[in-house]
Amino acid sequence: MSVDTATGLDTFPRLLALNARIRGGKPASREKDYGIWQTWTWAEVAEEVRALACGLAALGFRRGDRLAIIGDNRPHLYWAMPAAQAVGGVPVPVYQDSVAEEMQYVLEHAECRFALVENQEQVDKLLEIKDRLPALETVIYHFPRGMRHYTQPFLHLYAKVQEQGREFDAAHAGFYEAEVAKGAGADLAVMLYTSGTTGRPKGVMLSFDNIIQTARNAAQWEGLTEDDEMLAYLPMAWVGDHIFSVGQAYTTGFCVACPESAETVLQDLREIGPTYFFAPPRIFENILTTVMIRIEDAASWKQRMFHYFMAVAGRVGGDILDGKPVPFLDRVKYKLGEFLVYGPLKNVLGLTRMHLGYTAGEAIGPDIFDFYRSLGLNLKQLYGSTEASVFITIQPNGDIRSDSVGVPAPGVEIRVADNGEVMFKSPGVFQAYYKNDAATAETKTPDGWVHTGDAGFLDADGHLKIIDRAKDVGRLTDGTLFAPKYLENKLKFFPFVSEAVTFGNGRDYVAAFINMDLEAVGNWAERRGLAYTGYTDLAGRPEVLELIADCVDKVNADLAQDDKLAGSQIRRFLILHKELDADDGELTRTRKVRRTVVAERYGDLIAALYSDRDHCEVTATVTFEDGRTDTIHADLKIRDAKVVPPGAARAAA
C-alpha cells in the first residue's frame, strides 16, 4: 500500500501518524538486543516519538534548533529524527566513529544546541569538546550503562526525557498535533555532512519534499511494500541510510532492523534475511572473498560440485533473472543448482529473501556483480549523491549492464556538460550547503542543475556510464588517457587486492601502490605453509609479490584490449608495508583513498617507483585504534610488471 501524495503527507511526523493509523500493528523498528529481536510496531514508534518530541520541547528545544544525533544504528536514535522534526527542529546525524575534533567541527558549524547520543563513549567525546562548543546546551544519552557518576546537569537520560515528555504532553493537550501541523514539505528536514575527500565537511540541507518525493518515487518504481524488511547497518549520517531507513521506510511503511553491534552485522543479516538490501561494493567483495575461501576448505567433491553449478549459474543465471529465454536443460540444471548450491549459499549469506539489492558508491567488479546476479539475486547498481537525495540513476529490472549505472531514476533529468561532466536535476536536489553559499553556487546552477563532478556519458539506450571523477582523469606525458580510479578498481576486483593507488598524471608511465587483502592472502599463505607474523611481514614475502604481480599482469593484459587505455598499463608497482587507514587520514571515513595525503606521505616511494631502483626503505608511523602510535620499518621491493603490446594481445586473443 502506498501513501496518497495528495493528502498533505509531506513531513515525516505526518507520515508517522499515518503509518501508526493504517498499519499500526505492523513492525516498524527492530533491534537485536538482549538476545532477541526487540520489535516496535508503527503505533508504538509513534508513541515513542511523540514522547521524545514533547520531552525535547520540555527541555527547551525550539523550532529551528538543530539536534545532533550520534551513535550506531539504533531505533531510539532513528526516532529522534521525526521527534526533532515534529517540534520544528532539524536532525543532524553525525558519523559515530568521528574523533572528537571532527565532531566538534560539525556541531559547531551546525550550531547544535542539543545532542542526542547513544552511550557513554559518545558522551565522553562530547564532554571532551564541550568547552569549545558554547552553543551546545543539552546532551541526551540513550544507554545508561556507566553513566551513573556523571553529575553534569546538562546530561539527560533518553528514557527520562521521554517521561518528562509524557508529562508535558499530558499538561499541554494538542501541543504535539499543533507543532506537527506547523511543518511543511518545503521545510528543512535534515542536514547531512558530507565526508569530503578534500576540505571540511559540507552540510547538505535537504527538505522534506526532497527526501520524501525521491524516496517515494524510487520505492514505487521498484515495487517496495510495507512487508519489506531492511537491515540498517551503514552510518546514520550517510545519505543512503537516511533515504532507505527513514525516507523509504516512512513512505512505504516497511520495517527497519538494527544489528546488535558492528561486529555481528553478518550474523544479524543471516537472521533477519532482509528483502531489501544495500551494501557498498566493498562489502559484496568481502562476502564473496570469504565464500571463496570457505569453499576452498571444503571437501574436493563439494568444491567440484560448487564450481560446476557456479559455472551453470554464470552461463544462464543472469538470463533467467532477466526473464530471457534459456534452453530447457539449462533450466533444469539451474533448478538443481538452486537446490544444491545457490539456495544454501544465499541462505548462508542471509540473502534468501532479498528481492531487491543495491550497490553504489564506487564501481563494483563485473565478476562480483555477475556472481550475485547469477545466483538469482536482483542486485542492481545505482548512481547517486547526497546532493540528489541519493537517486540519480538506477539499473532497471531486466536490463542490467555491468558497465553502466542504469537509466535516470523517476523524476530525474540528466545532461552531460561540454567538459564531459554529468549534471542532473530532480525533486531531490538539495536546498543549499549550510553557511557555504560559495560552494552552493559552485555546485548548483541557478536553474537547479547540479554538477556531479563525475565524467561520463549517456549511451544510445539512455544508460549512464561513469568513467572517473572529472577532475581525476589525467594524461601521461605522451598524452595517453589516465583514469586512475578505473585502473584501481580493476586491481581491486582481485580478491588478493584490498586497495590500490595508481599514479601517472604528467608522468611517463603508470605505477601503483597495492594493499593486499590480509584475509585472502593470509589464507593463501596458510595453505602453502607460509608462516608470517603480520601484515608487514607477509607483504614483504617474495611469494606474495609474485602473487600480486600475477594480478597486475592480468590487468595489463585486459587494458591492452582497449586502444584508448592500452598505453596506461601499469609498469611498476610495490606492495605497501601497511594497510591504508582512515585513522591515519589516508582513507576517508567511507574508505575512499585520500590521494593527496597518500602522495604526500609516501613521496619517497613514488620517487622510487619512477626511478630504476628495485627496492625502497621506509619508516612509517602508524596510529592504533586506541590512539597509541608506533613506527615500523620495512624494505619494500619494487617490481616491474609485464606490459603487453596492444597488437600482441589482440593476436593472442
Binding site: 538482549y34 557518576h149 553491534s261
Partner: protein
C-alpha cells in the same frame, strides 16, 4: 567506571553484616585456619590476601558453609553461618566464584547463568513438565534477567556456546555471571583474576567495581595481584599460615611491619 576526578563511588559503606569470630579449622591435624576474626561491612570490597596455603580459600569455604569450622562462629545478618548447610548460603544471598573454574561444562553460557537464578524460580514439577502457562512465563521472565547479566558482562556473542569450549578468561566471566544472576548481597570471589592477561584483568576489575557500585553488592575477594587489591578494595585482611596477620585499609596494611616481613617480602633494613 568513574573517572578519577570525582568521588570514587556513590555507595556508602554500611554496618557490619558478617562477623567472623575466632574461627579455626583443621583437616586431620593440619590447621588451615587458626583463630581468625574479622568483620565484613555492607557494600564494601574486602580483600583477603596471603601466600599460598594461608587458608584464604578455606576461609571462603567456611563462610559459605562448604567447610564447617571446628571452633569459632560466623554470623551473617545475625544468623550463624558456620553450622549451616552449603546450599543455604545461596538462599541467604551469598554467591561465589571459584579459584578453579567450576562451571557446568555441559551447558551453554545462558544455561549456566539461568542456573544461577534457580533459587528464584518457584514453579513446580507439573508446570515444568508442561512447559506452559506459569512455568513458561516464569522461565521467560528469568531469561530476560539472565540477558541483563549477559549484557552487563558483555558476553552476548557466546550466549549459546557450551562453556567448555570457551577460553579461560571468558569462562571466568561466565562464572561471575552465574553468581550475579542470583542477585546476591554478598559475593565471594576466589581469585577472580588468576591466569588472566592484562586486558582481561582490567575488564574484570571494571566488572567487580561496577557490581559493587551499581548493585551495592558486598564483595569479599581473594586475589594475588597486589596492585589490583590495593586499588579496588576498601579493606584488606592478611592471612598467613592460617593466622590473621593484619587487617585494615590498603594503606595501613601496606605499612604493617608484620605484613611486610611475612608476605610482601620487602626487606626493611
Amino acid at each position: 567506571m568513574p573517572d578519577g576526578t570525582q568521588p570514587p563511588t556513590g555507595r556508602v559503606v554500611g554496618d557490619v553484616i558478617m562477623k567472623v569470630e575466632n574461627v579455626s579449622l583443621s583437616f586431620g591435624g593440619v590447621r588451615a585456619l587458626d583463630n581468625v576474626s574479622f568483620d565484613v561491612r555492607e557494600h564494601e570490597i574486602l580483600a583477603i590476601i596471603g601466600p599460598n596455603g594461608a587458608g584464604k580459600s578455606s576461609m571462603l569455604n567456611c563462610i559459605n558453609g562448604f567447610y564447617h569450622p571446628q571452633e569459632g562462629a560466623i554470623t551473617y545478618k545475625g544468623k550463624r553461618r558456620d553450622t549451616a548447610k552449603t546450599f543455604e548460603a545461596a538462599e541467604e544471598g551469598i554467591a561465589r566464584t571459584f579459584q578453579n573454574i567450576a562451571l557446568f561444562k555441559g551447558m551453554s553460557t545462558l544455561d549456566n547463568i539461568m542456573t544461577g537464578r534457580g533459587l528464584k524460580m518457584k514453579k513446580n514439577l507439573l508446570w515444568q513438565a508442561l512447559y506452559y502457562g506459569p512455568a513458561l512465563k516464569e522461565e521467560l521472565e528469568h531469561r530476560a534477567k539472565a540477558e541483563e547479566v549477559i549484557d552487563f558482562l558483555e558476553i552476548e556473542a557466546i550466549r549459546k556456546t557450551p562453556v567448555g569450549r570457551l577460553p579461560y578468561g571468558l569462562q571466568k566471566r561466565v562464572e561471575l555471571g552465574r553468581a550475579l544472576a542470583a542477585e546476591p548481597d554478598l559475593l565471594l570471589l576466589d581469585e577472580p583474576m588468576a591466569g588472566m592477561n592484562h586486558e582481561e584483568k582490567e575488564d574484570m576489575v571494571r566488572y567487580i567495581l561496577d557490581v559493587n557500585d551499581e548493585f551495592g553488592t558486598t564483595i569479599v575477594l581473594i586475589e594475588h595481584d597486589m596492585s589490583v587489591v590495593m586499588d579496588i578494595s576498601d579493606r584488606v585482611v592478611v592471612l598467613d599460615y592460617g593466622k590473621k596477620l593484619a587487617d585494615g585499609t590498603p594503606d595501613e596494611v601496606k605499612r604493617n611491619q608484620d605484613v611486610i616481613d611475612a608476605y610482601l617480602g620487602v626487606s626493611h633494613d
